[in-house]
Each structure stands twice: as structure tokens, then as C-alpha cells.
Symmetry: C2
Subunit: 224 residues, 2 copies
Amino acid sequence: MALSRVLKPARTAPPLPQSDFDPGVNNNNPQNDTSIPTCPFCHIASTYPPYDPSSPPAASPTTLLNPDATSPQPSTFIVLSTKDLVAFLDIMPLSFGHILLCTRSHREKLTDVSPLEAGELGRYLRVLSAAVSRVTGVQDWNVVQNNGAAAAQVVPHMHFHVIPRPELKDKGRERFTSTMFGRGQREDLDEEEAEVLAERIRQMVKVVVEEEEKVEAKTQNAKL
Amino acid sequence: MALSRVLKPARTAPPLPQSDFDPGVNNNNPQNDTSIPTCPFCHIASTYPPYDPSSPPAASPTTLLNPDATSPQPSTFIVLSTKDLVAFLDIMPLSFGHILLCTRSHREKLTDVSPLEAGELGRYLRVLSAAVSRVTGVQDWNVVQNNGAAAAQVVPHMHFHVIPRPELKDKGRERFTSTMFGRGQREDLDEEEAEVLAERIRQMVKVVVEEEEKVEAKTQNAKL
């Protein structure tokens, strides 16, 4: 590798990618409607209002989450919906329990999210990982987030994948590699199954969030 | 897909993976030394003390970051070191600027981190993504975090990869897929280059963190 690759940026001012977080424009301001009419994740975000993760709608069918709205097509199976974030089942899952977590506001890349949203993404990646793992019984999983076309980002609205990885006994490493990033074999989501799965995950998110609250209370007590 | 896959977990109590966050044991308590002697990331964490990301050591050579300690072999090039987190250049980078972000304490999987650590991971994933992108000039990148052997986790100490993805003009998709998860072509880190790169990233982290602080101050002012 040539040292010039390192030295190059120093010759000019630090490049500020267009996609970078602009402190003057966005963030932490719900009045700033950033939604893009053609963006499928903005559509989902605007269709499903926030709910308290500790009191998920126990609705089945999932449409009761928002009975008055036209459900996006194909159906969306929400597993989390907060002021800042939305998570739902991937409609073309790489494995059973494959979910997506995105910001409610339209942010193209991870660098476009606000510091507050970034912290929330981290917090809920842990919560959702625990919920998906417990509900599916699959102990291993990948967290993947792609930024830009060269990194295989397809929908230009920042999202994390949480992808359970059951033991690949007969499938081998080849299949594992080929299924990453959506270029391998993907199945359409079975809607009946998805409805049950999404409700299970919402309920498990509640359990995990309540565990967090207990830890928080303990920590607070220890400090007193 | 069979519906029984969804229904299976309901027959027993929700499984609590061993690796799951145990509110009774860990977290938010620096007195709890969780470090594992054989873990390379624990070695790095114990060798490099925290510093304020807004005042990074401008040291070159990087060893000045901790001149009294025996540097882990191979050399470690720190780009962030806080109370809770450590980030450094991958010693076998998939691309120029490939870094790892892990918790300072030993946590096997993402579900083992504390809620506080999870929030910090999210916050600094954004900061480090911005810093790496600006320093390398590469606008696209992947964020990847593998949990467990079936998900291709190699070092059992939770870590996020931030992997710049330059345009793959002559390399094609095949190479892209094969280089993910460390099974493709990886180069050894050039130490001279790495030293310059790590210092640049530390300095750019400072810039990004200062930008965040300005936004925070503006938000606070707007609320008054």
C-alpha cells in the first residue's frame, strides 16, 4: 500500500461528504419532516405511529397496529416503533427472524443520523438482537449495515439488518457467503407465519426493555 | 416455512441464552474486571488507558499513547479509547481504513453488553464512520458485527467492523462477496502507513465529536 493514500486527504481541507450529518438541517426536531415520498421505509415510518415498547399492541392481525391507514404493500410486520426508530421483518428474509431497524426520519447513511438517533440505534440493536435470538432460539446472528452502492446498500434509507444464523450443518460456508447482502437465496415472507413471529418479537422486546429498566433502577439505587 | 418454527419457542419458557446480558453480574461497574487473559481485545483494552476523544494524544509514533506498557504484538493502532470502548485498526484489513470497535470490558456477544455500552457503541459507530470516511475519502462502507461461530465471529469479544468500500471498478461483485467476513484476500497492515492513518482518524474523531457538541449546545439553547 502506498503512503500517499494516507497523505492525500491532508493536502486539502477534510472532505465533508454530502451525506454527512448536517447540524444545521436536521435532527431532534419532529417538525422537520424529512420523509421522501418514494422511499419504502419512509412510507412504513409514516404509516405506523410510535408506541411504548413496554406496552406493545398485542394485536393480531398486525394490521390492528394501525387499522385506519392503508397498509404498505407488501404487508409490513412491525416489531418496534418509537419516536426515533422503526423495526420490522425483512420482506425477503435471508433467514427466519431477519429484521431491519431504521430511523423514523429519512437518513441516507449512518453518518446522516443525529447523535441522539445513533445512541438509540445502538441501544435497540442490543434489545432487538436479544428478542430475535430468544424468539427464534437461534444463538448466533449477524448485524449488518451497508452505506452506499459500493457497500451493497439497496434502499437509500439507513437500516441495520439483524440476521439469525442457524448452524449451517449441511449448507456449508459457500452458501453462508452467498446469502449475505441479499445476493443469495431469499424466500418471500410467509404472511401467516410473519404475523405470529412479529407479535412474539414485540412481546419479547417488552421483556428485554423491562429487564433494562430493572438494571437501571438497581444502578440508581446503588448510587444513592 | 412451517408455522411450527414460530410456535416452537412457546412450548417452553423463553430461552435465555447463556450469552445474554445478566443484570446481576456485569456492567457499569469498573470494579468488575471482566478481562480474559487469553483474549487479544482484552489485552489491547488493558494496555491502552482511556483518553478524552476531544483531546487525542497527537503522538507519533503511536507507542507514545502508552510508552510504559509492552505493546501487544502485533502492534496496535488505537483510534478511540474511552471509559467504555476501544477502537483500533484491523491488523488484517479487508480495505484501507478497516477498523474494529469493541467494548473495553469482555463481552462475548452484542446481547452481553450493558444498555449504557450499547448506546455508546451506537454513538461511536456514527462518529468513527464519519472519521474513517473523511480520512480515507471513501464514501461507502459496511458496518458488520458477528455473533457466534455460525455467524463467522472469530474473536469471542464483541466487536463491530467498519469497512470502507472503494468503488470496485475492476474487481466485480465476486470479490466483494468473498472479502466479507475475512474469508477473502486480506493484506497485512503496513505499520508505517498504519501509524499515520491512526493518528489521522484520532484527529478526525476529535473534529466529529466537537461538531456533535456544537449541535448539542444549539439544541439546548433552542430549548431555553
